[in-house]
Symmetry: C2
Subunit: 456 residues, 2 copies
């Protein structure tokens, strides 16, 4: 579709030269970092204020034209593809930290502020925002997709760390979902309803987030294990023992090799855990000692410690590059990334069965995961022009999801639904999916907010 001339006039009046119809701009705003085919919007508006977003949505609503919010474009399930055309609103110009309140350990930001930008900004307060999905994503996008990542085992996900949102609704109204009290029993939890709704119920234009004190002491370690099972069982027992580990990441041997090549590290080619501990010096030492004892029970002992900030940063930079490292194993390929999460007691079984699937597949596949939550990813390297490979990747993906659901888990621990995982929601939720659709219809009766995503 192309946008009606009257609407284009209205949008031009709002955004001036910050409205673009240029093909490269539209292409770039219609795709994410995944294998999912993109779909360009008809126009891209670069918003600078809530007022502009509200005016744009109001104008689009009058013409029943789709509206898609865009942040850093780092999502992985086709979240930003403009499947039915329409207006993409790029929010990265709304990148101001509105208020930092160290005394309440909270902060209010515009949606285009990225997590690294925020942590840079508040560095002198002694506080930090812990949610870290790897990519330097925008905080609005992280809330919209209910992101989490490495620190979630200790600090929770976006669901747990958003205090309140400002949201532009499908009819252009602007609401605030709450205040700054740390808890409230007042009314329906619209904050949590909007977190994870992927722009299908409204566009987040401001966020108030929890902050945490930078731990007095931090230490990190890498430890190879004799088997996948030994590594995962170490994680399970660590979690079951209530040790408040801040991060515990699993990399299978394929992923370790990819990381070594890409990040010039020299980790042993074995199933490996990356750990991080936060707390007082005594607490960190105590946690590390307990985890060391558990790992030893499962046959691992070669803990390599990274206590200095530089060593630690190198370690986590390598972990964060895992996706690109995997892609580099097969230049020119695309990464088909799956994301599942199961109850911790089923994690060893789930990963072992998955690993057996992958070993039997002709595709190169690597496993990496935030295993303290029972969450893991498989990166399948495919040539997107080869239908056989794409079919094989899809087959493996389906098996991962089916296995997770059979184990009372979820089809996506943190990447979200977009249009890539939409087909699995019926299996996961049954009738509850109809309730989601009823909520969608109530808040967006004309279906203009990021159509074709989440609930279809």
């Amino acid at each position: 579709m192309t946008l009606p001339a009257a609407l284009l006039d209205q949008l031009s009046a709002i955004f001036g030269d910050r409205l673009s119809l240029a093909a490269p701009v539209r292409e770039q705003h219609g795709r994410d970092e995944s294998y999912h085919p993109g779909s360009p919007p008809d126009a891209v508006a670069f918003a600078l204020s809530t007022t502009e977003v509200a005016a744009a949505v109001t104008a689009c609503a009058a013409h029943k034209v789709p509206v898609i919010a865009f942040g850093t474009g780092t999502s992985l399930e086709g979240h930003v593809a403009a499947l039915r055309g329409g207006l993409c609103i790029d929010l990265m110009g709304m990148n101001h930290v509105v208020a930092v309140r160290p005394e309440d350990m909270d902060v209010t930001v515009q949606p285009g502020v990225t997590r690294k930008q925020l942590n840079e900004y508040i560095r002198d307060t002694g506080l930090f925002f812990p949610i870290d999905p790897g990519a330097d994503a925008s905080l609005g996008g992280m809330a919209a997709t209910r992101a989490s990542g490495t620190n979630a085992v200790r600090y929770g996900t976006m669901k747990d760390n958003v205090l309140a949102l400002e949201v532009v609704l499908a009819d252009g109204r602007v609401i605030r979902t709450g205040g700054r009290a740390r808890k409230s029993s007042a009314g329906y939890d619209l904050t949590r309803l909007m977190v994870g709704s992927e722009g299908t119920l409204g566009i987040i234009t401001e966020l108030t987030l929890k902050l945490y004190g930078i731990p007095e002491a931090i230490s990190a370690a890498v430890c190879p294990f004799p088997s996948v099972e030994a590594a995962i069982n170490t994680v399970i027992l660590t979690i079951q023992s209530g040790i408040p580990v801040a991060r515990v990441e699993f990399l299978d041997a394929v992923m370790v090799e990819a990381v070594n090549r890409y990040s010039k590290t020299a980790h042993a080619l074995a199933p490996t855990l990356f750990f991080e501990f936060h707390g007082s010096p005594a607490a960190v030492a105590e946690q590390a000692e307990k985890v060391g004892a558990i790992a030893a029970e499962f046959g691992a002992s070669d803990f390599q410690w990274a206590t200095g900030p530089e060593d630690r940063n190198r370690l986590w930079a390598a972990r964060h590059s895992a996706y690109w490292a995997a892609l580099a194993l097969r230049p020119g390929c695309k990464g088909w990334t799956t994301d599942a999460c199961v109850p911790i007691s089923r994690l060893a079984e789930c990963i072992l069965e998955t690993k057996a699937d992958l070993d039997a597949s002709p595709l190169i596949c690597a496993i990496v995961g935030h295993v303290g939550d029972g969450n893991f990813h498989v990166v399948e390297l495919v040539d997107p022009t080869n239908p056989l490979e794409v079919a094989e990747a899809e087959r493996l993906n389906k098996r991962v999801v089916a296995r997770a659901l059979a184990m009372d888990g979820t089809c996506t621990g943190e990447h979200g639904v977009g249009y890539g995982k939409m087909g699995y929601l019926a299996a996961e939720f049954g009738e509850a999916l109809d309730v989601m659709r009823a909520v969608k219809r109530a808040l967006d009766p004309d279906g203009i907010m990021n159509p074709g995503k989440v609930v279809g």
Copy 2:
């Protein structure tokens, strides 16, 4: 209203002699423990299964007759009053622990299981469920009201500790809101939408909850302070320092006197904090030492430690009796309880201004609160037959709420809305209240689920 004969026949067929029309049963099921006038339902059904609840709701839906869920009746804002008559479904017969999974640290229960019953049941697993609103409430009711209480500062509220729900919807359909994965980005967060919806969107018929390891070490302490300000500033600095205190409760001198009389304790008649610390022995000692140093900065030093379980139980039993202790200060009165929550930096100011209001009032009033969250209650003792006293209690209540909202807080930190706080939601949420109403209409178009509550 009285129920249509055809509906009564259907309900009799479902419940047999577990359907009651007796006036005393109806009266008891139409009121909670608060000052709010009750309103009896037309009938009370004692359900034993989800199937029965679903059948009853289906039958009521066909006749557009209200349905109100009932647990222990310990709510405080008129939540269970059958304002428009209808059927009350008492869920206390659904009191089975369905599954305990120590290896995943979760549990599935029916809604009539109370928190004490659950903790008794799982005692041998080394795990516990921390949410503790004082009353031995049903877990279904606690989820429905988004309850929290003394431990929330460390363990969060019901919002943070429900993994998934089974819910009977307004049309009798039964949904499950999720699986048992510790995190998920799959679809809208129906779990959090139902938690705190007070039976207005559906009836909770099963809950899967997070459990926690019983701390290796626990210690508790009582400490009197030279002033309200000194006590609250100690709390603020404790929280701002990131000390993971498990409980920190404030009692003003009036409340301490009430507790002393009622529970035969001998605490100094001064603004007082009750603390509890959880962790390893070393961590508990470290936390206690840090808090002791902070309290000393504000002029308090007389920490009385309760390290043994009996001493601790006596301490918390006294704290939990605070409401009844306050009532006993003036036999025959009713307690008008308010509940507000503000950002921690405003807590001293909020409580001091409130205290000044109370001191200037002819009513006897006491303050008690879960101050680590910025949450506090005022118990105003009124003769409900004296309109002047009722008007004065209402005036004080309004000032507490207005003050909390002006400080970016909430009109209810944990008691919920019921019909008592309904009038404040517009001030707190503005347009967002319309969104709540749209959600309500979408899920309950005929308005039969606990009508007249939360969103009106």
